[in-house]
Amino acid sequence: MTRPRRELKITKVGDKEYIAEGDRESIATLHEQGIGEKVSDSRLKVSPIELAYLTTRFRVVDREGREIRIEDVLQNVGDILRFIVYLDLRKRGYNVKITPDDSPIDILVWEKGKKPSKARPRYAVKIVTEGLGIRALDLSSLLRYCEAMGLQLVLALLSNDGVVTYYKAFSLRDFRAT
């Protein structure tokens, strides 16, 4: 028999902000995994993308106890592609964070087993789609930016049907034939 999923109660507090309320253990775990900002021991402030992800792990309900499903929140996540890559990396066991909208990268990723509250991120993910490319100039400056920040740039190539393939990108300084 499967264990009943733990419950999170959601309150919308802003255009793109929600408060997720749950038991202390769940909130502590989520906080360690870099999800949301801790408001109190039982409450986290989360973004729409984080909320959409939480619906895949918890039973998520509103103040009236009505269940919130992923399809109810997807329309608020903004860039669906970012959510797809976010979810893919989370499901692979990485702790990840969506970057602010003005950042040149899309998602920060921690080394497996590293806690965002204690360690620095290792990878910077930039999403590249099948339809649109990235200007050489933009790619070069992105690479320089990541290297200066001590981050490994990863391009997440997203096919039109949502399949993700990852490539690490390096500058020519690392040019070695083998």
Partner: protein, 186 residues
């Protein structure tokens, strides 16, 4: 050092003198011995054949003062003439030459990557010495690098080397941009 004499034969350049051909090949795996494939350094002594140079190699060696190029009638071919011939015969010649020169200046051995489906196959020490070359793919100027460029290059490189390079002309900064890639399974 005395410059090696090379001859322009329509679309290619050859070094007819066998001893000069050996010297040039030994000095950085330049060219290809006509009729011989994958010649190792220790085999050079036994090769009796002229060396064929690509236009890119010939231009580089002329610029470095290593060779001089003549027509079959004995008249010299200037650097500019050689460059013009390259532009006429090879699309994006200036960009391709620049990539070749930059990689050579880094001390790398740069050979044609055609048989691997790439522009250049690049070796740290040389073919037959390195385990595998790194493939350099050229993205035409005025084109963005897209997901398909990366996966296509990766596919071609897969059996050769896990890393590959996309090179493209950055017209804003007036330089070649190189980015190396490696497939990552998170």
């Amino acid at each position: 050092m005395r410059r090696i004499r090379a001859v322009l034969l329509d679309r290619g350049v050859i070094v007819p003198d066998v001893e000069s051909a050996r010297t040039l090949y030994r000095s950085g795996f330049y060219g290809k011995f006509i009729g011989h494939e994958k010649v190792k350094l220790q085999e050079v002594e036994n090769i009796v054949a002229p060396l064929q140079l690509s236009l890119v190699e010939a231009l580089y060696l002329v610029e470095k003062g290593v060779i001089e190029v003549y027509r079959p009638d004995g008249s010299p071919v200037s650097v500019e003439e050689l460059r013009e011939i390259g532009r006429r015969l090879i699309r994006n010649f200036d960009f391709i030459y620049r990539i070749y020169r930059e990689l050579r200046e880094r001390g790398l051995v740069v050979k044609s990557g055609l048989k691997f489906g790439a522009l250049f196959a690049v070796y740290e020490k040389g073919p037959g010495i390195d385990h595998a070359p790194m493939l350099v793919h050229f993205i035409e100027p005025d084109r963005d690098i897209n997901a398909l460029d990366i996966t296509r290059a990766a596919r071609l490189s897969h059996s050769v080397n896990k890393r590959f390079v996309l090179a493209t002309w950055n017209k804003i900064e007036n330089r070649v941009d190189y980015v190396a890639f490696e497939w990552w399974t998170p």
